[in-house]
Amino acid sequence: MATAAKEQPDALEAFRSEVQDWLAANFPASLKGKGGAMTSPYGADSAGPEGTAWRKALGGKGWGTPTWPKAYGGGGLSKAHAAILNQEMARIGAWNPIGGMGILMFGPTLLEYGSEEQKLRHMPAICTADIRWCQGYSEPGAGSDLASLQTFAEDKGDHYIVNGQKTWTSGGQWADWCFALVRTDKSKKHEGITFLLIDMKSPGVSVKPIQMISGMSPFCETFFDNVKVPKENRVGEEGQGWTIGKRLLQHERTNISGGGGRMAAAMAQGLVATAKEALGTDAQGRIADPELRARIAKFEMDWRTFLLTTQRITQESKAAGGVSEVSSILKTVGTKLVQERSELLIEITGLQGLGWEGEGFSDAELAATRGWLSGKATTIYGGSTEIQNNVIAKRILGMLDHQ
């Protein structure tokens, strides 16, 4: 990146002007700082007609996925150019309205494994976020042991007939399409799995939102009852689904463990500020409860260690030209710490930290309660901590199979 910048400084500065002009013309000032809309299931559109317009503008230019190929709806930018785009957007408080599972998980996988036809058909609408995708992986009987999935796709010549049930379909109630793992061969476990794209409007598809312990319903159960899926919607070959599906899960893991630097600092600071208010401070400005103070310090130190580790592994991966094996630890460490923080916050704030709804609690307090509960899932989905430890023991440490 630095090298590229050195080689063509003029071109890059010209691009910076172009970006500035384009943003001035297209980013509605009223949306400044409203990036939080992206956490709504409706994404940018929840910010009203201006949000939709902004999504279509940035997405249409391919700049929501700036480094993806232009041929499929991406921006086709170099990393150096993309960095300038990010800088300029950040400078004026603009935000990227293109998100969701299509971007985070499915898009990169389709780019890698999809046919030319599939890419041309599906990628542009991912890049504009016009089409929303959901994931059809887990089943009631196949959680951590995903490969034991039973949803069956029967070969009918030019199409499959799919029957079965998926669960934990994230955003299933709002999705237009589903990328799913289905079984095409009952005689083999991993090799019997195939990766299909299923139109959620197909006859026979129905969804039922699952109410979670946090009170929210971000997931669905999805039922397939004799759903017809044309073979052109199969990604890769029959039996290749496990390989493709696993690759996609790597994107998922990165996202769950992620958490940028800004959020990180806020995490520790929020805890300290809350503790100072809830517990008081002594003459030296120290949090008045010494045991809790020590535990807050331990959390902050552990969190800093985690962020430094994320940095280190990223640098090492770059230097080595591939994903470091050690990255398996990031998910278990990151999710555990996020849970620790929620629990510590409750201990600091006492019953005020357990508000469910109604008077007497701030929105932030209620969100913290819900987040504490929904956060329990982070060590379960996307490869539970137990599964990750199996992986570390067997793949990294070479401790063979335990069976």
């Binding site: 887990s138 009987g141 959680g143 951590s144 042991d145 034991s148 669960t167 934990w168 699952i210 109410q211 979670m212 312990i213 009170g215 809830a278 409860d289 045991e291 809790l292 849970q339 629990e343 409750i346 201990e347 704030t349 006492g350 019953l351 005020q352 930290g353 357990l354 508000g355 469910w356 709804e357 109604g358 008077e359 007497g360 609690f361 309660t369 509960l373 929904s374 329990k376 899932a377 060590t379 379960i380 989905y381 539970s384 901590t385 137990e386 430890n389 335990h402 069976q403």
Partner: protein
């Protein structure tokens, strides 16, 4: 399980049978979804009172059975297993304030009605979200023969259904404990809805006037009352830990992943063995603290021991049972998360582990 007397064994068995048959977890779910105004499961409590449980720590001459605190603890442990939404503990604590207190008039007025379950009582002590009996700001000033109370009590459990509040307030001579009927002018409730779907409210006292007979005792009474609250809460927590563990064990024995029953994975076996061990240690402390109340032996230290152990153990158990259930435990349709939602409320009531470790060290002189 402690060595029980014959009557205690009968009581425990009766409580276990009733809870299993008449008050399963589905009853709690119904209560939660209906959300009755009184804040508790009135039918369940009616039956419990009919079985005499509301009078377990009330002397016979006031209509109780005087079976003692270990007996009460056994019942609370059993009914907590399925999260029975009863005000039994709160009401017993309110009754014990009267029993230990100095007001014969208050005893005569309230104890028979508390023993029969006709009315519910509760404690209104803390004024913030963290237990801190050293920071009571509510005032009690003398007015004529009686007292005028002003202040706000925070997160009072069972406030919605209570006819009687036991209130701690600063008098000119230090902390005093008062019996305050709920229907007095100037007393108001503000609901505080917590994760456990039970009754909690801030109770405001705006120049509430009570008679001289409302005064029950001073800081010594308050200390004794708080230790009872800590121990009784720990007993309820034991039921939560035990049952959520048992449910999880059953789940692991039937859930299959990777072609293997989960219970046969050694890593899970060792975690369950650790939880089992911790719960046995918790049982020890809870039962010993209940017995300490009955024999008036070393109560303050045993109360802090039981509450700290209960906090730490239930904290761990309530997290592990969710993790061990995997995805199904994250759904509201399943019930295992009810336990963590109740657990955190009880952990934060009457003193965190930090509070009780500090107190235990101070009691021991270091």
């Amino acid at each position: 399980m402690a060595v029980l007397s014959e009557e205690q064994t009968m009581l425990r068995d009766m409580a276990r049978e009733w809870t299993t048959n008449e008050s399963p977890v589905t009853a709690f779910r119904k209560f939660r979804d209906l959300a009755p105004a009184c804040g508790y499961d009135a039918n369940a409590f009616k039956t419990m009172a009919e079985m005499g449980w509301a009078g377990i720590v009330i002397p016979e001459k006031f209509g109780g059975s005087d079976f003692g605190w270990l007996s009460l603890g056994l019942v609370l442990e059993e009914t907590a297993k399925t999260l029975t939404a009863s005000p039994l503990a709160s009401s017993a604590l309110a009754a014990s304030a009267l029993v230990l207190g100095s007001s014969d008039a208050a005893k005569a007025t309230w104890l028979p009605r508390l023993a029969s379950g006709e009315v519910v009582g509760t404690l209104a002590i803390d004024e913030g979200p963290r237990h801190n009996p050293a920071a009571i700001a509510t005032t009690a000033t003398k007015s004529g023969d009686g007292w005028t109370l002003s202040g706000t009590k925070a997160f009072v459990h069972e406030a919605h259904g209570a006819a009687l509040f036991i209130v701690a307030a600063q008098t000119p001579d230090g902390v005093g404990v008062f019996a305050v009927p709920a229907d007095l002018a100037g007393l108001g409730l503000a609901t505080r809805k917590l994760t456990d779907s039970r009754s909690h409210a801030n109770v405001t006292l705006a120049n509430v006037k009570v008679g001289a007979d409302a005064y029950l005792g001073g800081s010594d009474l308050l200390d004794r009352l708080l230790d009872r609250a800590r121990i009784v809460t720990a007993a309820e927590m034991l039921g939560l830990a035990e049952h959520s563990f048992g449910v999880t064990l059953d789940y692991l024995k039937q859930r299959v992943q990777f072609g293997q029953i989960l219970a046969t994975f050694q890593a899970l076996q060792h975690r369950m063995a650790e939880l089992f061990t911790r719960i046995e240690l918790m049982r020890t402390d809870v039962e010993a603290a209940l017995a300490a109340l009955d024999s008036s032996t070393d109560v303050p230290a045993m109360a802090s021991l039981a509450k700290a152990t209960a906090n730490d153990t239930l904290h761990l158990v309530s997290r592990e049972v969710i993790q061990l259930h995997g995805g199904i435990g994250m759904t509201d349709e399943y019930f295992i998360a009810f336990y963590i939602k109740r657990a955190r409320v009880l952990e934060n009531a009457w003193g965190s582990s930090t509070f009780h470790r500090d107190r235990y060290a101070s009691l021991a002189g270091y």
